[in-house]
Amino acid sequence: MSDKKLTFKKRLHILKHHYRGKKMAPAFNALHTFLFAPDETTHNGSHVRAADDLKRTMNTVIMALVPVLLFSMFNAGYQHFSAINGFPQEFSLVNDFLTWDNFWIGIIKVLPLVVVSYGVGLLVEFIFAVIKGHEVEEGYLVTGMLVPLIVPIDTPLWMLSVAVVFGVVIGKEVFGGTGMNILNPALTIRAFLFFAYPTWMSGDKVWVYQAVERAGGPDAISGETILGYLAQNKGAEMSYSVSDMFFGFIPGSVGETSTFLILLGGLFLIFSKIASWRIMLSAVIGSLVMGLIFNGVVDQGWIGETSKFYGLMSFDFWQHLIVGGLAFGIVYMATDPVTGAQTNRGKWFYGFFIGFLSVMIRVFNPAYPEGVFLAILLMNVFAPTIDHYVVRGNVKRRLKRLKNATILPKDSAGKANELHAETA
């Protein structure tokens, strides 16, 4: 057979064998398996396998993120132009939001974040795979999509690159790669940005394109988030309606604003059985409970309007879910199976405390009125502890069963005693 007759598939197969055992094999395989599902077969054990693999699982999460990404690209422009020209009086989705001008801002500001996040992150993954000789694992496919969606739009690309390198290396690779990490890599990256460059990551200037550049000048624009207003007790100055908050026509981190699309993404993930509904539901309950407690404190008059916590504490409890990154965090970050609780019962506790602590940190953190990423990172650390106690419950049940083990006598008591002596 001449080489010309070889199909593309066959050529790649030959190349795969050419690379086998060589240094670059993981890099080649990573690209190859993106094109073709591998020809691996089972050995012993289950000879047939279900259709899902890790790539498919990760891809499902990415699909759930795509609407959020597209929305954020339009919103980038919408917030930019609205900050300059004022919000439109009669809002029309098609004329004011889904415009080419808005999308263009998205292309020049949001897309580079995505490209840099994936480019740098996957480069680090490939390098580690080649050095350590393991396959390139799929974890970064989701991380790389999450990162651009949880940072402020004006984040400089070099800053993002540094953070991604830190997050992938320290957050994941040092633990042994995908599946072994303790902290959510995307949130590790976000936390790195927050603590390394705090002035860039908070304040009222970073959430809208060009707000930083124009600051102090005659054409200054403001991009204060709703939580920012509330934290300064300036809730009355906000012009956003509840529907703006729910559908996401508000400033904020790139992809966190549209609770509506996040909700759709969450429902899709629950329906496809990829993400845990237990975590999502319990996190929502947790945040509502904390919100209600704060509302109760205000209603009781324990805290006055002059208190610096008044703005956020008096914020309607359920509205916490539609502003800031809470919804995004609950749906896409808290449900990360590697860093979350792994037992079904543990997931209830894990989710509840994420919601509960998110709202608490939100209210009490003076520097930065957002708590969801800190709450999730904190619960990431506690997830193994939660699981430990759930699993111990099972172990205890087993020990108790052993203690109470009695053999039911079938005919004569003698036989049962005989056995009891042997098992004791």
Binding site: G45, S46, A51, D53, T57, T343, R398, T423
Partner: protein, 450 residues
Amino acid sequence: MSKDIRIKKGLNIKLVGAAEQTTSKAVLSNVYAIGLSDFHGVTPKMLVKQGAEVKAGEPLFYNKNKESMLFVSPVSGELVEIVRGARRRILSLKILADKEQAAVVHDLLNVESASKEEVKAYLLKGGCWPFIKQRPYDIVADPDVNPKAIFVSGYVTAPLAADLNYVLQGKEKELQAAITALDKLTPGKVHVSVGKSDNSPLAGLKGVELHKVSGPHPAGLVGTQINRINPINKGETVWTVTPQDLVIIGELLLTGKFNAERTVALVGSSVKAPKYYTTKIGTEISTFLYASGVEGDNFRVINGDVLTGSKSAPDGHLGYYNNTVTAIPEGDDYELFGWNKPVFNKISATRALTFSWMQPNKKYDLTTNTNGEHRAFVVTGMYEKVFPLDIFPMQLLKACMIKDLDEMEQLGLYEVAPEDFSLTEFVCVSKQPHQQIIREGLDLLHKEIG
């Protein structure tokens, strides 16, 4: 009196190629083989030399660690080959069958009046002991231990597995004799399960605790039933026997002869006419495989069902415990964009662009492709959906992988056999070898704790 067991968690894997309920007699095999891998943990000590003539039911070897445990020849003939592997470990024994079959005949035992020791000695001597397996460790039962109960599962949920209601027809006498004998061996009960709507010959047995089971696979696995009926505690032992092996035990008791005959279901999408064959343990699979015809030449022959069987070949031999032989296409081919395109022709436990949930009754033609690469454990909560035992599957698997004996023990490794993890292995997104991990864990625990 029967007790109902309803299993909710699980997954029925519906495949193309179920056996039609007709039985043919398979061509007699020239060579029969006993594979030592069927008897996990047994170190064979040969009793006959290569080239010796043996009768059916004559001991070939015994277990070095338990000398009373004899393993007998399924046919009469010449022991032509002792196949050895690395370090001269015996892999299998090949017997060239005689034209005229002769069998060892034992004196009959009056089962009703026999004592426990007499029954035990008779089964050991007659070569039927290896049919009794024990948990913990999933090995041939230790005859010197008193099991707290004996379990027989007559409910079949494994994909394409032989229908016991069909193959056990007319075997009531043998089954009853075997049950009566087994009942002597335990101070506890003999638990027999049948499907809730089954018309099984097992349902009429006397002296048993009958359980009616319903629900998806793995409801039919004996481990699932043990976990519901009377879970194994540390220090306890239960025995399990499969119904078709009860028939062979029963025949020994009724006739004094070891009759290795068995009705086997030949199934799978690579078989042109899947149906039942009567044949003998150790027969060459080709003696009936080609009688039904096969599709193409790139297929895999599995000794057993697709979830728990072992890889074989047309010139392989029917395993000691198997009543199903499956042939399915090999999946050693690439699939363009296999990881992200919508999937309609494969089974999935999720709905991640996989659509098997839309057609719960469709039968699938699955290949041996892994549908993805081996990865670390990532996804959680998936195994629990198909694992009805009161055990944390992933935590137990991880305990086995890190060889933490305390954890393995505390998390319930005593209660499980590798087959209990066949379904979690099937749905595993990370394509981990669950059954192998559990097997290695059991071996380690057995070695260290005994």
